[in-house]
Amino acid sequence: MTRVKWTVWLPLAVFAGFVALVALQLFRPAGREVESAMIGKPVPAFTLPPASADRPGLSPADLRDGKPKLLNVWASWCIPCAAEAPQLAALQRQGADIVSVAVRDTPDDVARFLARYGNPYSRIGADDLSQVQLGIGSSGVPETFVIDGQGIIRYQHIGDIREPDVAMLLGKLREAAR
């Protein structure tokens, strides 16, 4: 019954088409991660008040002092930020200068978070309306940016910093120094 025979392969063919289509879409860079379009551009103009009693706030001049820095976007209500605290501490111990922006947070919660997880930051700016966060092209927390000595954004790391990322970020900092 050859005429019916080929039709039994139809469902499989249709399914194969579906898999191909979907695989194509999955492996495109278009994921849920929104990449900053600001790479290679200077950090926009802003000034943020201090978010914590014992660290100064953040302004563009601080980022143009000739030394590359890491800029960490975080919040006390962000759980992966707690998960990356040890890695940030490791980065600071190995000489990285980490400034940060605390988004949509309150001074009390910031203080509590820092007391619990440690404070690797040299500066913490309070970004209550996420303006700076959006301005540098970050769309979620946590994210970490490598900013070179002239205030140009060089690299964006989306998500929490895991152990293997520590060495990678240190490498990016060294590149930015050149």
Binding site: M1, V4, K5, V8, W9, P11, L12, F15, A16, F18, V19, L21, V22, A23, L24, Q25, L26, F27, A30, G31, R32, E33, W77, C78, I79, A82, A83, A85, P86, R104, R112, F113, R116, Y117
Partner: protein
């Protein structure tokens, strides 16, 4: 401790699944001499079910105790949350719901291992092996890429809290119900594969598979109905179905399962539609898997989708390719060897069922294509969204003929029916349809074609559903026939509700001061005051209103605009007043800013009067009830038959035969 216990139970269950697969396939190969190995398979399946149950219970305990050292609990729970929502937080996230998935799969496998004895043992072994094979992939997914029991380096101070949209009793129970159905269909899949492998596509096989399919289908029906009602009152948009990819992901298996249900009955009663039944058995659970993939891979934008990265999406895609691809290949290879079933005329019950199965499959295809279309266009660089303007009319093209045939179908005899025999019912139903059309068109204007057709056919189907009772002794009718009557009536009722809501809803959008009265349809609604209120983990502005139906007694109504604090989110809590003939739906928005006429603050109010909208969900429940009756009926028949056979065997023994 509890987290480690849960994880260990999960690993053990996965190991047992591997063993089950091994034992099952080896004993199939060995054939007659498989004795010892074969005897292992059923117990393995049962213990696997128990272990996953324990693992899930461990997760529940972690959530109830708000154990903030576990990452999942920290991200999805909060100590200030009410108990029931702590519990439902366990399955209100990706990892937890995946654990629920494998629990239901293993549980279902355990149940058939325990209770199903009507099939030849090789088929059962093949079925359980297939179930284990599919389970293994999902165990791997859980253990390697979505571990629900992962710990944080140090406990979080307080939880991130569940999305407040999910803090709702309806939604608390919607996932488990849906999963019992959705994942319960895996049994149908395994049965189909088992039957294909052992070439046992027979009426006996159909009779064995039927109650399991029915059981899963009932839960799926309830789950979808509950989900729709939840979206209706929780989102505050007044709609009850949005053709969102997540909704479609639950509808597609339901369509396939409904077709499968009917196909299995034909195979059981008339030994026809063998290939079709197997195909549908594979398709139903395939749709479940495709649906879960679409929702979790991040590939489609949806307000309901879990936030998962593409890496996990690829994992599921690979699983899909193996399982569905494998099953479809097996089908293609073995389909030719499935013997020809019995013939039947076009005008016969089989004919009607085939027609409707094709219609259901067509609707399934339409929903699938519509859901995937944005993906296709995006691959070509264009972004589109597909919504009701596509799904409703195109679906209706196949749904309307299906309803018409469904009205007549149960009246047709098996094998061949003469037109003369059904002339009277057809006439009656035709008259009913025309009458409804005439009445509706005469009494209201501006009703769309689709709602009109829906009303007419809905009434027709509801009336037609009781016609099979004509001329039968009601007390001696099998429960399964009652089940069919109720289920079909439920469809008619639900369609009436949907059409009525489309055709007759009245909406008012106003900015009102305290003391103003708004008219919506037959209601007069007075805004008394807007006051702040607080709850366990939220604060809100509550609009106190008094509504009077046609100048009757005033009834209190209090919609809220609510603000949660962890995570910060705002929701709208609609207030609903239900009467026998519809619902008054009230939503309060913000205070009007920058008001020029500023003698008193004005508030945004949105009010709907939706006649007969509740029929949609009553209809859905009726369908599920019909299914439940049919299931009970069949199980009772089976038990009675089993008891009778036992008595016969005993008597034979006594008589020394």
């Amino acid at each position: 401790m509890m987290a480690e216990f849960g994880l260990a139970a999960l690993w053990l269950a996965a190991a047992l699944a591997a063993l089950q697969l091994l034992a099952g396939s080896l004993s199939l190969k060995a054939g007659e001499e498989s004795g010892q190995l074969a005897a292992l398979v059923r117990p393995l399946a049962i213990v696997q079910g128990v272990l996953t149950g324990l693992s899930f219970a461990a997760l529940l305990v972690l959530f109830v105790n708000t154990d903030l050292s576990v990452k999942l609990v920290a991200m999805n729970s909060h100590s200030a949350k009410p108990f029931i929502y702590k519990l439902s937080g366990a399955w209100g996230n990706h990892e937890g719901s995946m654990l629920l998935w494998v629990t239901v799969m293993a549980g279902a496998g355990g149940l058939i291992a325990l209770f199903e004895r009507r099939l030849p043992e090789p088929t059962m072994l093949a079925t359980l092996a297939a179930q284990a094979f599919v389970g293994l992939g999902f165990y791997a997914f859980l253990l390697f890429s979505s571990n629900p029991f992962e710990r944080l380096p140090s406990p979080a101070p307080k939880g991130l809290g569940l999305n407040p949209l999910l803090q709702d009793i309806g939604l608390a129970f919607h996932p488990p119900t849906l999963y019992l159905g959705y994942v319960g269909l895996s049994i149908a899949f395994s049965f189909a594969v088992g039957a294909l492998l052992t070439r046992q596509v027979t009426p006996d096989f159909a009779r064995a598979m039927r109650p399991w399919v029915l059981g899963a289908w009932i839960f799926l029906t309830i789950g979808i109905t509950a989900g729709s009602y939840w979206a209706y009152y929780e989102l505050g948009w007044g709609g009850w179905w949005f053709w969102d990819p997540v909704e479609n992901a639950s509808l597609m298996p339901w369509l396939a399962a409904t077709a499968l249900l009917h196909s299995v009955s034909v195979l059981a009663a008339r030994d026809a539609l063998r290939t079709w039944t197997i195909m549908l058995g594979v398709a139903a659970f395939s749709m479940s898997m495709v649906g879960t993939f679409l929702v979790r891979s991040g590939i489609l934008t949806s307000v309901h989708a879990f936030a998962v990265d593409p890496e996990r999406g690829s994992f599921i895609l690979v699983l899909l390719a193996i399982y569905i691809g494998g099953a479809l290949t097996l089908f293609a290879l073995r389909a030719g060897t499935i013997a020809e079933g019995e013939r039947f005329a076009v005008l016969s019950r089989e004919g009607a069922l085939v027609f409707n199965n094709v219609m259901l499959t067509a609707i399934l295809a339409i929903v699938l294509v519509g859901t995937l279309y944005p993906l296709v266009t995006e691959a070509m660089g264009v972004k589109v969204s597909v919504g009701p303007p596509y799904f409703n009319p195109v679906g209706a093209i196949f749904a309307l003929p299906m309803l018409a045939v469904m009205a007549i179908g149960p009246l047709l005899r098996w094998r061949r029916e003469s037109f003369a025999a059904i002339r009277l019912p057809v006439l009656v139903l035709g008259l009913v349809t025309v009458a409804v059309l005439a009445i509706v068109m005469a009494s209201s204007s501006g009703i769309g074609l689709l709602p009109l057709a829906g009303l007419a056919l809905g009434v027709s189907v509801a009336v037609a559903s009781v016609l099979p009772l004509r001329g039968r002794k009601l007390r001696r009718m099998p429960l399964s026939v009652w089940g069919m009557v109720l289920a079909h009536m439920g469809i008619g009722v639900a369609i009436c509700g949907m059409a009525s809501e489309s055709a007759f809803s009245v909406e008012r959008l106003v900015a009102a001061k305290a003391g103003d009265t708004v008219e919506v349809g037959p209601w007069q609604v007075r805004l008394v005051a807007v006051e702040p209120v607080a709850g366990p983990n939220w604060t809100a502005l509550e609009g106190r209103m008094q509504a009077r139906y046609d100048d009757g007694e005033p009834i209190e109504l209090a919609p809220q605009a609510r603000a949660f604090w962890t995570p910060p989110q705002q929701t709208s809590e609609a207030a609903l007043l239900t009467r026998w003939n519809g619902q008054l739906y009230a939503v309060i928005g913000e205070q009007v800013h920058g008001d020029a006429s500023a003698d008193a603050p004005r508030w945004q109010l949105r009010l709907w009067w939706k006649p007969f909208v509740t029929l949609i969900w009553y209809g859905g429940l009726l369908i599920a009830l019909g299914g439940a009756l049919a299931l009970v009926g069949r199980v009772l028949t089976e038990l009675r038959r089993h008891a009778a056979l036992r008595r016969i065997a005993e008597r034979r023994q006594e008589q020394g035969r």
